[in-house]
C-alpha cells in the first residue's frame, strides 16, 4: 500500500530531472563510440540537412549520435521493425518513414515507386524504382532501453498527388517488407478523404490499442490524428516498444502505421521526451518558445482541410498564451476558408469535459478558445480523459464558461453563408489502451458522453462531412452526424 502511494511522487521526481526538459531522459557514455560507428571521428550529436528534392530542413534532436545513413548492416542482429509513416512536408507530395534496427545497422535507405512488383524486386534504385538516403540516430534511454536504440528516418519528396506508392526501407542485404502509402489530394481539392482519431493508447489494456488500429485500417482511412499519451512514460523505451509491437491475431500495428501517416500531439505521459521526438517526423518550423526542434506544435494541410496540432503540456505555462498562441493565430490567419473550409485542431487536455477524472483545463480555455472562436475552428480533438464526449457547438466565454452557440439537429453547429460554423465542437475521444474513466453528460456544454474506448472517423468530401464515433471493443457505432456547410 505504501509503495503504491509513493509511486506518483517517484514519477513526479523523474519528470523533474533537468535533462528531460530538452532531450528526454538519457545518458551519454562519454568516450565510448556508438555501436557500428568506428570511423575514428567523434560522433556528431545532432544532424540538420535538406533531404533530396524536399523544400524543408530536417533536424534531429541532440542524442548520442546522428549521421547520414551508409550501407552498413548489423551482421549479428538483422532486426528491422517499428516502421511507421508521417508527414514533415506537404501531404500531397511527400512522406517520411521512421524505423528501428539492430544497434550496428547504419543503412537508412528507402526504395519506392508506383509499381509494387518492381519495388519488391529491387535491391537499388533503377528503372521505375527511386531511392533516397536518410539519417540514423543512436541513444541510450535511461529507462527500458537496454544497450541502446538505433533509429532511422528518411524523407521522400517530389511525389504526385492522389497516388498510391509502394516502399521498403533498410539497405542492401536487409529490406523491410513492402508497404503501401498514398499522397493527399492537392490543397483545396474537393476529392473525398477520411481520417481516424484516437488517443491514450498507453498501457494497452484489453489489447485495445491494436484492436483500434485494425479497425481504422479496415475502414481504409487515409491517416490518423492522435491526441497524445501514446505510452505510459515517454522516456521509457520499453513502453515505445510495446506501442509499436502491439498486435492482434495476424495484424501488427505497423501494418497500419506504415501506410497511414500518424500525426500526434504531445501528451502529459509522452513528456516531449527525446524518445518521442526522435521516433517521429513532423513539420519542424520553429516558432517563439518552441522546443523539440519545432515538433512541439505544427500544422499541415490535407485536401480542403487544415490541421493544427498543439502542445498543452509545457514547462512554462506562459508559453500557452504566449508564443504558442501567437503562432496559432498567425497559422490560422493564413488559411483561405474558400479553399479550405474545414479546420481541425488537436491537443491532449480537453477544456470542455464533463465531470470525468480530469476537470476541464480552464487556463487552456482562456488561452486558446478566443483564437478558435476568432477563426471559427470546426472541431477540437482531445483525449486525457479516457472516454467519448462531444460538446454542443461553443462560441464565446462568459465568466470563463463556454457559451452554447446556435445548434442544429443532433447537436451540430449551424453554418452561415460563408460556411463558418456557429460554434466549435469539442471532442474527447481517447482510451484505446488506458484505463476507462467515468463521465457525465450533465454539463450545459456537453451533448453526449460515454465511458468507452472510442475512435472517430471523419469522412470529408468538399463541403460535406460525415462524423462517426465507434466503440473500438465491440465495433458498434456510438455517434454519427453529417454536415454540409
Amino acid at each position: 500500500m505504501l509503495h503504491r502511494s509513493l509511486a506518483p511522487f517517484a514519477l513526479a521526481l523523474l519528470s523533474l530531472l533537468p535533462a528531460c526538459e530538452e532531450t528526454g531522459l538519457m545518458r551519454f557514455d562519454g568516450g565510448t563510440t556508438p555501436p557500428g560507428e568506428d570511423g575514428g571521428e567523434p560522433a556528431q550529436r545532432q544532424i540538420s540537412y535538406t533531404p533530396e528534392g524536399c523544400g524543408y530542413t530536417v533536424t534531429s534532436p541532440e542524442l548520442e549520435s546522428a549521421a547520414m545513413g551508409t550501407d552498413v548492416q548489423d551482421p549479428d542482429n538483422p532486426v528491422l521493425h517499428h516502421v511507421h509513416a508521417s508527414w514533415a512536408g506537404p501531404t500531397d507530395s511527400t512522406f517520411a518513414v521512421n524505423w528501428e534496427t539492430g544497434l550496428r545497422t547504419l543503412a537508412s535507405r528507402i526504395l519506392y515507386g508506383t509499381d509494387r512488383a518492381a519495388v519488391e524486386a529491387a535491391e537499388a534504385p533503377g528503372g521505375d524504382v527511386l531511392g533516397r538516403n536518410g539519417h540514423t540516430m543512436f541513444y541510450r534511454a535511461m529507462i527500458g532501453g537496454g544497450p541502446g536504440t538505433r533509429l532511422h528516418e528518411v524523407h521522400v519528396c517530389g511525389l504526385e498527388p492522389e497516388t498510391t506508392y509502394y516502399y521498403k526501407v533498410g539497405g542492401p542485404g536487409r529490406w523491410s517488407r513492402v508497404y503501401e502509402i498514398a499522397t493527399a489530394p492537392p490543397v483545396g481539392s474537393t476529392q473525398p478523404f477520411s481520417f481516424g482519431v484516437t488517443g491514450d493508447s498507453r498501457n494497452n489494456l484489453e489489447n485495445s490499442w491494436p484492436i483500434s488500429q485494425r479497425r481504422l485500417d479496415e475502414a481504409g482511412v487515409d491517416f490518423q490524428v492522435f491526441s497524445g499519451d501514446a505510452v505510459f512514460l515517454g522516456a521509457n523505451q520499453a513502453d515505445w516498444r510495446q506501442f509499436f509491437e502491439a498486435s492482434v491475431d495476424d495484424f501488427d500495428v505497423t501494418d497500419f502505421l506504415a501506410r497511414a501517416p500518424f500525426m500526434m500531439a504531445n501528451g502529459n505521459h509522452d513528456q516531449l521526451a527525446l524518445n518521442y521526438v526522435a521516433q517521429f517526423a513532423f513539420p519542424q518550423e520553429v516558432s517563439e518558445g518552441e522546443r523539440a526542434q519545432g515538433m512541439e506544435w505544427y500544422s499541415f494541410d490535407y485536401g480542403n482541410a487544415h490541421f493544427v496540432i498543439l502542445n498543452d503540456t509545457v514547462n512554462d505555462s506562459a508559453v500557452l498564451a504566449g508564443g504558442q498562441a501567437r503562432w496559432l493565430r498567425e497559422d490560422l490567419a493564413r488559411v483561405d476558408r474558400t479553399r479550405q473550409p474545414w479546420i481541425f485542431v488537436s491537443h491532449h487536455r480537453p477544456f470542455y469535459t464533463c465531470r470525468s477524472t480530469h476537470s476541464p483545463d480552464t487556463a487552456l480555455r482562456a488561452a486558446w478558445q478566443p483564437i478558435f472562436d476568432e477563426f471559427s475552428v470546426d472541431f477540437v480533438l482531445t483525449g486525457h480523459n479516457h472516454v467519448y464526449e462531444r460538446s454542443t457547438p461553443i462560441r464565446g466565454l462568459e465568466g470563463g464558461e463556454g457559451v452554447v452557440a446556435a445548434t442544429g439537429t443532433n447537436g451540430v453547429p449551424t453554418y452561415d453563408m460563408a460556411g463558418l460554423p456557429s460554434g466549435t465542437v469539442y471532442v474527447v475521444a481517447a482510451g484505446v489502451g488506458a484505463e476507462l474513466y467515468e463521465v457525465s453528460s450533465e454539463c450545459t456544454t456537453s451533448f453526449t458522453s460515454m465511458s468507452v474506448r472510442p475512435y472517430v472517423i471523419f469522412e470529408v468530401e468538399g463541403r460535406t462531412l460525415t462524423y462517426t464515433a465507434y466503440d473500438a471493443m465491440s465495433g458498434g457505432m456510438l455517434d454519427q452526424f453529417t454536415l454540409t456547410k
Binding site: M1, R4, T164, T183, P192, A219, T357, S359, Y437, G476
Partner: protein
C-alpha cells in the same frame, strides 16, 4: 508510333480529372451503400473503382474495404447486411426489442465471421443495457463457435468475465478468467483490483483509526500539556514536516497540474498525521513510556500516511492513472 505518343499523352491527361471524378463518385456511392446496410452494392462499386483508377489513393481504400467485405460474404451478404443494420445504429436505438430480434436471426446465420462478430456485438450491447445474464449468454454463444481466432477467444472470455462481474461481483468475474488461464489479461487485473478495493478501503480506514488510538493511548493525560506542545512543535520539526508534505504536492502538481487538489488533501491529512505523531511521541517521552510505544506510534504514522495517500487517490479516481 512516335507521332501517336503525344496524342495518347494528351488523351491521358484529359482523362485524368474525369477519372478522378468517377472514382470519387464510386467511392461515395460505395460508402453510402455500406451505411445503408447494402454490402453487395458496396462491393460492386468498390470493384468498379479499382478497375477505373487502380493506382489512385481512393483505389487503395476501395481494396481495403473489398478485403473486409469479401471476408464476410457468407449467405450472399445477407447476414452482413443484418449485422451492419444493428452496428451502424446509435446506441440509443439498440433497444432490447431490436437486440432480441437480431439475436433470433443470428442463430440461423451460417458459420463465419459475421456470426462471430454478431455475438460480440450482442454481448457488448446487452452489457450496455445492463442485462448481464443475456450478455453472458451471447458471449457463451460466441465462445461456442468452432472457428474462433485466438484474439476472439480472449475477447469472448473477457466479455464473459465482465458480464459475470456485473451479475455476481468482480471476484466471480476474475475467477472465470483464472479458470480459463487468462490471469495475464488486463481485464483480470482490473476485476481483481475492483474486488480488493472494498477490503483495502476498510484496511486503510483501520490503519488511520489504529494510529489515532495509539496516539491517544501512548500520550494519555499528557498530550496537550504546555511542555509537550513546545517539544512536539519545535521549529526544526515544523520545517522538516513542511518539506515532507509540500514537496510531493509540488512534484505531483508539476507532473500533472490538475491533480493539485488530490495532493493538497494528502498534504493536509499528512500534516495532521505528523502533528499527531509528534504530539504522541513527545507525550510518551514526558510520561517516560517504554521506547517500543514511541516506535509503534512512528510505524503506525507511516502506515497511516500510506493509507491516506491510497484513499485520496482512490477517491479521486486517479490511483490507476499513476500506476501502470
Amino acid at each position: 508510333m512516335t507521332r501517336r505518343l503525344p496524342i495518347a499523352l494528351a488523351l491521358l491527361f484529359a482523362a485524368t480529372p474525369a477519372r478522378a471524378d468517377e472514382a470519387a463518385d464510386l467511392s461515395r456511392e460505395a460508402a453510402a451503400a455500406e451505411r445503408r446496410g447494402e454490402p453487395a452494392v458496396a462491393v460492386e462499386r468498390y470493384r468498379a473503382l479499382v478497375a477505373a483508377d487502380p493506382t489512385s489513393r481512393l483505389a487503395g481504400r476501395a481494396r481495403r474495404r473489398l478485403e473486409w467485405l469479401e471476408a464476410r460474404a457468407e449467405g450472399d451478404y445477407r447476414p452482413l447486411s443484418r449485422y451492419l443494420a444493428l452496428r451502424e445504429r446509435p446506441p440509443a436505438e439498440r433497444t432490447r426489442e431490436r437486440l432480441a430480434a437480431f439475436e433470433a436471426e443470428v442463430r440461423s446465420f451460417p458459420e463465419g465471421r459475421v456470426a462471430r462478430e454478431s455475438w460480440a456485438l450482442l454481448g457488448e450491447a446487452w452489457l450496455a443495457l445492463d442485462e448481464p445474464a443475456r450478455a453472458e449468454a451471447a458471449f457463451l454463444a460466441w465462445l461456442d463457435r468452432p472457428d474462433l481466432e485466438s484474439s476472439e477467444r480472449v475477447s469472448a472470455q473477457t466479455g464473459l468475465a465482465r458480464a459475470r462481474a456485473a451479475r455476481a461481483g468482480p471476484a466471480a468475474g476474475a475467477e472465470l478468467l483464472r479458470a480459463a488461464g487468462l490471469e495475464a489479461t488486463s481485464t483480470h487485473a482490473t476485476l481483481t483490483r475492483e474486488a480488493r478495493r472494498g477490503p483495502l478501503r476498510v484496511a486503510a480506514a483501520s490503519f488511520l483509526a489504529l494510529f489515532l488510538g495509539a496516539v491517544l493511548f501512548v500520550g494519555r493525560r499528557a498530550l496537550l500539556t504546555r511542555d509537550v506542545l513546545a517539544r512536539a512543535f519545535s521549529l526544526g520539526r515544523l520545517a522538516a514536516a513542511a518539506h515532507v508534505l509540500v514537496v510531493p504536492w509540488a512534484l505531483a502538481s508539476h507532473y500533472d497540474h490538475d491533480v493539485g487538489d488530490t495532493f493538497a488533501l494528502v498534504a493536509a491529512g499528512g500534516a495532521a498525521i505528523l502533528a499527531l505523531a509528534s504530539l504522541g511521541g513527545a507525550a510518551a517521552s514526558a510520561r517516560e513510556a517504554p521506547r517500543t510505544q514511541r516506535a509503534a506510534v512512528a510505524g503506525l504514522a507511516v502506515l497511516a500516511y500510506g493509507a491516506l495517500g491510497w484513499l485520496a487517490l482512490d477517491h479521486a479516481g486517479q490511483l490507476f492513472s499513476f500506476l501502470a
